[in-house]
């Protein structure tokens, strides 16, 4: 990978570290990026990480009004994108109202091009001297650096194995370069997910265990619950039922302590499938029913549909065909409402059950 790329990813990681430290305090960080698409990609990375407000500045008055008048209580960082030219109005505003950037008591990240920075140093020197820090990124609108930032900015989506392999390579590279723990946990999670989808279960396990360790180091209980759950899926898929039950159980316990109802419902469901697989039908019914109840309360339509469909399979296996048919019909309706591709599988299950009921 080209040297510029290495520098840029490390710089973005350092910006994240500085913003993390500056949360709840004032700070003024300038960031030089020339290509607008590259800038926007970095902004997306930061928006994914921090509750942000992005302002594309045209006039000085916008800066004053935002910093003086707007309710920024829900905003953790302010991101400013400067125009391509430093007008007299903007230079004056930056110089004369520079204190406002610190008065808001949240970090400000100002994106500007190289030529505008040079102009700022000459024509708004007080603003320049008032900065907390500044970064210069060299990136372009294409190439591996861009792809790496794209990976940091967007959730995993893929169409084929090539997509997964490409994304895996970029994430392995990011893992080497990124020091920020939250971003590292995200990268490990994605690598675990990719390895799982590629059928590389040993690698997936290594990544997910590392992710769990990072979450534990950060004291991130939600992250720990998520890693334990994913490790549970892996153990279940590799046939280690006891380990899967232990991992799901640990995840469930954390979610219950956090009052995370949605998470609890999602742990109860696979615990139900484990009970079903080991022949403990009553326990499986209890767990599905508990999961379903919470999902209905939360209005989690997709979750409800999945648990209904799973319950239908259980009842079919137990010979309760009418009950199974009723469950799968309800599941199919919900999948159709959601426009889910799983509706097709539910239709097949429903047709099979209808045939069985007819043949009885």
């Amino acid at each position: 990978m080209e040297e510029i790329g290495l520098d840029d990813v490390e710089e973005v990681d350092t910006i994240i570290a500085e913003l993390e430290i500056s949360k709840g305090k004032g700070n003024l960080i300038l960031c030089v990026v020339n290509a607008p698409v590259y800038r926007d990609r970095i902004i997306r990375v930061l928006e994914n990480r921090f509750p942000s407000k992005v302002i594309f500045v045209e006039q000085g008055e916008e800066i004053i009004q935002t910093l003086k008048g707007e309710d920024l209580s829900d905003v953790k960082i302010l991101i400013w994108s400067m125009p391509n030219k430093l007008t007299e109005d903007l230079a004056d505003t930056l110089n004369n109202f520079r204190e406002l950037f610190y008065d808001v008591r949240i970090p400000n990240l100002v994106f500007l091009s190289q030529s505008v920075l040079d102009d700022v140093i000459r024509r708004a020197p007080d603003f320049w001297r008032y900065r907390g820090n500044y970064y210069e990124l060299n990136g372009a609108e294409r190439g591996r650096t861009f792809e790496a930032l794209d990976t940091l900015a967007t959730p995993l989506h893929y169409q084929n194995k090539e997509d997964l392999l490409r994304r895996k390579r970029i994430n392995e590279y990011l893992l080497e370069k990124v020091r920020d723990k939250k971003e590292t946990a995200k990268i490990l999670d994605e690598l675990g997910n990719i390895s799982y989808n590629l059928g590389e279960y040993d690698n997936a396990s290594i990544y997910l265990k590392k992710e769990l360790k990072v979450a534990q180091e950060m004291g991130d209980e939600r992250g720990m619950a998520s890693s334990l759950h994913n490790l549970g899926i892996l153990a279940q898929d590799t046939g280690d039922i006891d380990e899967a039950r232990r991992l799901y159980g640990e995840s469930l316990k954390i979610k219950q302590e956090l009052g995370d109802k949605s998470g609890v419902s999602k742990s109860l469901h696979p615990l139900g499938t484990l009970a079903q697989d080991t022949g403990d039908i009553d326990e499986a019914r209890r767990l599905y029913s508990e999961s379903l109840k919470i999902k209905q309360e939360l209005g989690d339509k997709s979750g409800v549909a999945i648990t209904l469909a799973q319950s239908a399979l259980l009842e079919e296996k137990e010979g309760n065909l009418e009950q199974a048919l009723d469950l799968i019909r309800r599941a199919e309706t919900k999948f159709l409402d959601l426009g889910s591709p799983t509706a097709a599988q539910a239709r097949k299950d429903r047709e099979r059950l209808e045939q069985k009921v007819q043949d009885k």
Binding site: A17, D89, I121, R129, N133, Y134, E136
Partner: protein
């Protein structure tokens, strides 16, 4: 609205405001001065003390013309309040010919130059070095900085804001790299970044003048049309110092490593 506020509305943020302020100034300035002076009398009567007004932040008048208009063309206005007034004043304006004309109208002028970390002969100024060290020692435990690193940062910057900025940048780098202490490479990387930026921003004329300033230890423009030295002093790429041996100018210490390079390309 106070006099200072009206003046400091400073010719505005945008054309419309500027025009409005100018009109307002024209029509209301006498009234404002009068009201201010009444206020001063009233405050002094009540408190039995003299009023001292400090008008800070006039360093924000960064454009040469704007600053000259304020201090040199309208200076009589600044003298009208009937109390002690201290106006902060951008140092580069002392290098224009108008300065000597206007100076006698004021009771005094006090110049506060940068604290030199080296004397005019290049020898280190221990007292000033200690001042800079103390700035950091009050904020960062000395054990968190590798030996010798602080000195390098001070001697390479020699200006408070730049020194603080470099130390901040270096500490973020050390934190990000999970180092236990701020290392030499953290400071060097922060210094190099800043140096690279200034080197890129300076024009050939600026570099030529900086070389002259470095040789002569003086910063003078050649005439009214020449603002090169003033621009350098505004941007603090040239710095004025003073110690017990006198006053002199030199290149920003950060840029000293570039002097040889500039000489070669001159």
């Amino acid at each position: 609205m106070s006099l200072a506020k009206v003046i400091l509305l400073k010719l505005g943020r945008e054309a419309k405001t500027r025009e409005y302020v100018r009109k307002e100034l024209d029509t209301q300035i006498s009234d404002l001065i009068q009201r201010l002076n009444w206020l001063i009398i009233e405050v002094e009567d009540w408190t039995k003390k003299c009023v001292v007004v400090i008008v800070d932040d006039l360093d924000k008048l960064t454009r040469g013309q704007q600053a000259e208009d304020f201090f040199y063309k309208n200076y009589e206005l600044l003298l009208q309040p009937n109390c002690f007034v201290i106006y902060t004043f951008p140092i580069p304006l002392t290098f224009t010919p108008y300065y000597q004309n206007v100076k006698p109208a004021f009771d005094d002028d006090v110049i506060l130059p940068q604290l030199p970390v080296r004397g005019i002969d290049g020898g280190e100024n221990d007292a000033n070095l200690n001042f800079y060290r103390e700035v950091v020692n009050r904020r960062i435990e000395p054990g968190l900085i590798d030996a010798g690193v602080l000195n390098e940062a001070i001697l390479s910057t020699g200006k408070l804001h730049e020194f603080v900025s470099v130390m901040k940048d270096a500490s973020i780098k050390a934190y990000r790299n999970e180092r236990e202490k701020i290392a030499k490479e953290d400071v060097e990387s922060a210094l190099e970044k800043l140096r690279r930026t200034y080197d890129r921003t300076l024009t050939e004329a600026h570099k030529k003048r900086l070389l002259e300033i470095h040789e002569s230890k003086e910063a003078r423009d050649t005439g009214n049309d020449d603002a090169t030295s003033r621009e350098l002093l505004f941007s603090l790429t040239a710095v004025e110092y003073e110690d017990e041996n006198g006053r002199w100018c030199d290149v920003d210490p950060l840029l000293l490593p570039l002097v040889e390079k500039w000489k070669r390309s001159d």
